[in-house]
């Protein structure tokens, strides 16, 4: 009995168990640590058995949460013990106590390797497990080939191979290059034919990690996964030991379906059909049974199947089956199923069209918001948040508000933030929005961050109609007996600015308003007093005719605070008092705050930020990123950022605050006075008040793109100073009229080039609109969806989108609505059919009106030649006959290209790959050459194979020779020109980017093909090849 002998350990454990309190436990542990330390000191006298015993004690102590800062060496040294029991302890304790960067681990690398490559399979298992648990980069570098060999070896037993699979997974995470080996994908596919379920389970985990990073490389594994799933689901050839309550390994089923979720689609109709049959059986055949474990296991499989069905965008019928199931789940008694039902329904929101069906369950979901279990309440909150749109915002937000008063503390902050965001995003009218936020402040003031009330102020300032309403509303709240300080802040600000609009109403005279506000002053903290002082100054200014009594009252307050210890309060008091003496000048300085520029809500930014903090890549998140449907709020760059905004700072601030110039004129004081103005109008970001109001007032007024009201002024300034042109000329068809006054955000040409390589992203953005695009390409068909998102709180009108397709593309754009409602997004599908090969580019002529601004842009659409390519590997035995049979012009063209952007060969290979030209390594014996193949799809050519060979000159990277062959002369020519454009132009530099439609090939490429000098070895080789 290996362990029964460790009496000392048992005694120690029962001692610990008998300790009456934490203090006794600590004393006992300190004693033991001292004992172990002493024994380790004179290590010579320790038998392996004793060492083993002490090392277990260390682990025990460590597990209890006590620091063990010695004895690591002894644990590691046990790894090299010759006998299994000691070795085992060494490995296990080492992997518990040490982390991958520990120096001692490095010492053990050799022993570990010897165990891995040795003949003793139990040693192999121990070593693989430890490396799998804590192996670092160094292990990856020195052990990966050995581990791979074990995994693939046919002579190794499954018990070793299953560990090798997960060990390799660890090494791959430490260094992805360990599987960047030729043919690894094929071997991975072979592994999935494994009969042993242990090996298969581990290999499936390895596959999940691999496909989550690069599904392209592992296409061949897809049918294998489906086969595995079928085998399990039909319970074919599954050993009894691997069925769990009658269910064939639920864990492997789940893993397999997880792997399948990383492949974007399933092309092969047979595989797809098989998979759907299996999924259908799971969906229909899972019944609720008495046995809890069986029930859980079968539902684990069912929920994974649901996730897979959603991922595959299955037929409508199956989808509604899923929603029906989920609808059932969220209403059952079993809390686990209820929780998972809500969680999966939230995921389902990402599926197109599902939202409407989910809305039918709104009442049930709201009930779950009041569930006694916080886990379930959170899921319900998330789901409500996700399913909210213009149609149900009022109901949902009101539910949230109602729930807020009874919600537990831990949820209030999240709840109020979510309610605030929804109110802002989907407000049917702005007065409702103001109501909601004021209620939030009233009910949960402690959880309302500054950004929330800043945002209300911004909306009120920008909407004249809203101002009297908001002023009246905050006055009502202030009259309540207990008022939260945040409410005082927002009320003071709004009443200061707009209470004069109420002056004629009963109880709203300046004096009365002042009275209501001033009553609160003794109750507030020093951060609020400055806002009150500003409000007083403004109220005083608006008092017409002047009220002497009020004036002396307010002046007295300023006077009192002139000696306040808080610098901010003191400064304001002094300044306001001085300004009040200046009479008319006061009017200018205290004039109403200008409108805020439209910008992204900092709330929404914050929400995104908090969502982005889990780093692990998951299938769901990947999907979410691919979905531009929420492009409106998820922009990839901050729109109102000074760095990206083409508006120079100085111009704008001049245009925005004309009053500053005037005051300087007639006060004729030193610069300090304009500083004061700054603090009064609160546009000076350096001012201490900016900390408090910074987000709302300071940087925003200066950095942001200009608001509608100052548009014309600003434009005049930028013209005068010869500022950069409003629109990126090169990105636009030459006929573009430069009359736009709206600046695009980001570089249009760069966005276009990026979209040529990927299938979703932002095509165009300016302060008012964002146009996202998502495309799917299948053979010669393309389906694009344009996402037109209005970023504003006002509608965009006269929206027009006109397609200008080149002759080779048939394009059908669905109807674009004339108006895009505030903060809404519309989707416009666009069908594309490629008729024949051509490099011409389609253009979208897009225009809309915002306020008085007519914006018109012409945007190139990324329906470019390479989208109709499908990479295809061609083996040598097929390549050469093809290459020879296409013998010379016009089917095979050759050209020497000069002026190539110099780049190393791997980079060029990557570039070609990114255009869906598949590099075939090894076909050309010359390492300086690249050979690639691809299939081109169009209606006239159908699927046509294209072969490409590029010979580079290592001595001169700026030139190369390119040979292209295909069965269609136009295709050969167009593809050659296309590749040439990619190689010579710098795609991100607008001036060089190829002009679309009317212009022919760019000049540097159009040189005549010179003869190849006969002494060029590459040319000789080419002769041999052709």
């Amino acid at each position: 009995m290996a362990m029964h002998g460790m009496r000392g350990l048992s005694v120690f454990i029962s001692d610990i168990r008998n300790c009456q309190n934490k203090e006794q436990e600590r004393q006992r542990i300190d004693k033991e640590l001292g004992n172990v330390r002493n024994r380790f000191k004179n290590e010579k006298g320790l038998s392996p058995y004793e060492k083993k015993k002490y090392v277990w004690k260390m682990l025990y102590i460590y597990m209890l949460g006590y620091d063990v800062d010695f004895g690591h060496m002894e644990a590691v040294s046990l790894i090299s013990a010759p006998k299994y029991p000691e070795k085992q302890v060494g490995y296990i304790v080492t992997s518990c106590l040490l982390n991958e960067n520990h120096d001692f681990l490095r010492l053990a690398i050799n022993t570990v390797r010897n165990d891995i490559i040795g003949r003793n399979e139990t040693f192999q298992c121990l070593a693989l497990t430890m490396v799998g648990n804590i192996g670092g980069r160094e292990f990856a570098e020195s052990l990966a080939p050995d581990v791979q060999k074990l995994l693939l070896s046919s002579s190794c037993r499954p018990l070793v191979r299953k560990k090798a699979a997960l060990c390799l997974l660890r090494l791959y995470r430490k260094n992805p290059d360990v599987v960047n080996v030729d043919g690894w994908a094929d071997r991975m596919a072979q592994l999935l034919d494994e009969r042993d379920l242990g090996v298969l389970t581990s290999s499936m985990s390895l596959l999940v990690a691999l496909v989550s990073n690069n599904h392209e490389a592992y296409w061949s594994c897809l049918p294998k996964c489906v086969k595995t799933l079928e085998r399990l689901a039909r319970n074919q050839d599954i050993p009894q030991e691997y069925t769990y309550y009658g269910i064939p390994s639920p864990w492997l089923q789940v893993k397999t379906m997880r792997a399948l979720q990383y492949f974007p689609t399933i092309e092969d109709p047979y595989t797809r059909r098989t998979l759907f049959e299996v999924l259908q059986r799971i969906l229909m055949g899972t019944d609720v049974v008495k046995n809890v474990n069986k029930n859980n296991a079968s539902h684990a499989v069912l929920f994974e199947a649901l996730a897979l069905v959603m991922h595959l965008d299955a037929e409508k019928e199956m989808m509604s089956q899923c929603v029906a199931l989920l609808g059932k789940f969220i209403a059952v008694r079993e809390p686990n199923i209820r929780y998972l039902g809500l969680e999966n329904m939230t995921r389902m929101l990402m599926v197109t069209d599902a939202q409407e069906i989910i809305k039918r369950h709104q009442a049930q979901i709201i009930t779950s918001l009041k569930d006694p279990d916080i886990s379930i309440r959170r899921r319900a909150l998330d789901l409500l948040y996700g399913m909210c749109d213009v149609t149900n915002a009022k109901d949902i937000v009101e539910e949230l508000l109602q729930y807020l008063s009874s919600a537990d503390f831990t949820m209030r902050e999240e709840l109020s933030l979510k309610a605030a965001i929804l109110a802002e995003k989907f407000a049917p009218d702005l007065s409702w929005y103001v109501d909601v936020i004021l209620q939030l402040i009233d009910k949960a003031g402690d959880f309302i961050s500054d950004d929330i009330w800043f945002r209300v102020v911004q909306f009120v300032t920008n909407n004249d109609d809203l101002q009297p309403y908001a002023a009246a509303k905050v006055k009502e709240y202030l009259e309540k007996p207990a008022v939260h300080e945040t409410m005082v802040k927002v009320s003071a600000y709004i009443l200061g600015e707009y209470s004069h609009l109420l002056a004629r109403r009963p109880g709203c005279s300046p004096k009365e308003i002042f009275g209501i506000l001033h009553e609160k002053l003794p109750t507030v903290s020093t951060t609020t007093i400055p806002i009150l002082l500003s409000a007083y100054a403004k109220i005083l200014m608006h008092t017409q005719p002047p009220d002497q009594e009020l004036q002396s009252q307010i002046w007295a307050i300023f006077n009192k605070y002139e000696s306040c210890i808080d610098a901010e309060i003191q400064q304001r008091a002094v300044e306001y008092f001085a300004l009040c003496q200046k009479g008319a000048a006061l009017m200018d300085i205290l004039a109403e705050m200008p409108k805020f520029p439209e910008r992204k809500s900092s709330l929404i930014k914050r929400a995104e930020y908090s969502e982005a903090d889990t780093a692990e890549q998951s299938a769901i998140k990947l999907r979410a990123q691919q979905q531009p449907s929420n492009a409106l709020v998820v922009t990839d760059q901050p729109p109102a950022n000074g760095a990206t905004s083409p508006v120079p700072v100085g111009q704008l601030s001049l245009a925005m605050v004309p009053s500053m110039i005037t005051t300087e004129d007639h006060t004729s004081t030193d610069p300090a006075s304009s500083q004061q103005n700054g603090s009064l109008t609160k546009v000076d970001p350096q001012h201490p008040s900016a900390d408090l109001l910074g987000d709302l007032l300071g940087p925003l007024a200066i950095e942001g793109p200009p608001g509608a009201t100052v548009q014309s002024e600003h434009n005049a300034v930028s013209r005068l100073e010869g500022g950069p042109d409003a629109v990126d000329g090169s990105a636009i068809v030459p006929v573009e009229e430069q009359r736009n006054t709206v600046q695009p955000i980001g570089n249009i040409a760069e966005r276009f080039h990026a979209l040529c390589l990927k299938d979703s992203g932002v095509l165009y953005e300016d302060p008012y609109i964002q146009i996202g695009i998502k495309a799917e390409w299948r053979a010669h068909h393309g389906r694009l969806v344009l996402f037109l998102g209005n970023k504003n709180t006002a509608p965009l009108v006269s929206v027009q989108a006109l397609m200008l397709p080149p002759a080779h593309l048939k394009m059908e754009l669905s109807l674009v609505p004339d108006t895009i409602p505030p903060r809404a997004q519309v989707q416009c599908p666009l069908e594309v059919v490629n008729l024949r090969p051509s490099r011409d580019v389609a253009v979208l002529d897009f225009s809309y009106k915002f306020g008085t601004n007519m914006v018109n842009v012409k945007l190139r659409l990324p329906a470019v030649l390479n989208k109709f390519l499908q990479p295809i590997p061609v083996p040598a035995e097929e390549f050469f006959p093809q290459w020879r049979s296409l013998s010379g012009p016009p089917l095979k063209l050759q050209e020497v290209v000069r002026g190539v952007r110099p780049m190393p060969l791997p980079e060029m290979a990557n570039l070609l790959n990114s255009f869906r030209l598949m590099i075939c390594p090894g076909l050309d014996p010359n390492p300086n050459n690249l050979v690639a193949s691809t299939t081109f799809y169009s209606e006239s050519t159908h699927a046509m194979l294209c072969l490409i060979r590029i010979e580079t000159d290592p001595a001169d990277r700026t030139q190369l020779r390119m040979t292209l062959a295909s069965g269609d002369p136009t295709l050969t020519f167009e593809l050659k020109e296309f590749i040439k454009e990619q190689l010579i132009s710098i795609p991100t530099a607008p001036p060089q980017s190829p002009a679309p439609a009317p212009a022919p090939a760019p000049p540097p490429a159009a040189q005549a093909t010179p003869q190849i000098p006969p002494n060029d070895p590459a040319a000789l080789l080419a002769g041999l090849l052709s």
Binding site: T201, S202, S375, T614
Partner: protein
């Protein structure tokens, strides 16, 4: 990454086994264990078996006086983990026969050996009880 840690904790909140599959310092472990044990132990039978905590989801199950807590990533299949806990318990049961807290306490090494056969690097390696237990049985025979 799947499973991040497995904890066995008794009703009094004393840790009986802790196995982490990602490195946390001792302080981080102490804090984490304190927080989640407090959260999970306060829950009742009518509540679900999942608790969200920081970036983890805790899937837990109670057997008599002992709680099994498994920390997983946010997108792990919760029910599969819940049943994996039960598989672990059944496996220990097969070995110890009517396993109880004391078995795990006094045979910590065996509990570790079993876990080691079942989970590696945060992923499930083996789910056949016979395969999980065979190394331990071999060792018991040898000594």
């Amino acid at each position: 990454m799947g499973i991040r840690f497995i904890l066995m904790v008794n009703k009094q909140g004393q840790t009986r086994l802790a196995q982490y599959y990602e490195w946390l310092t001792l302080e981080e472990r102490r804090a984490l264990e304190g927080e989640i044990v407090r959260k999970c132990l306060a829950r009742n039978e009518q509540q679900c078996s999942f608790v969200e905590h920081r970036n983890y989801k805790i899937v837990y199950r109670r057997y008599a006086s002992l709680f099994f807590l498994v920390g997983v990533d946010n997108d792990e299949n919760e029910l599969a983990i819940l049943e994996f806990i039960h598989l672990l318990v059944e496996t220990m049961d097969r070995h110890f026969g009517n396993v109880c807290e004391l078995d795990i306490m006094f045979h910590l090494e065996k509990a570790h050996f079993m876990l080691e056969e079942m989970v590696m690097n945060g992923s499930i390696v083996e789910t056949s009880k016979a395969n999980i237990l065979s190394p331990i049985q071999l060792m018991d025979k040898a000594s």
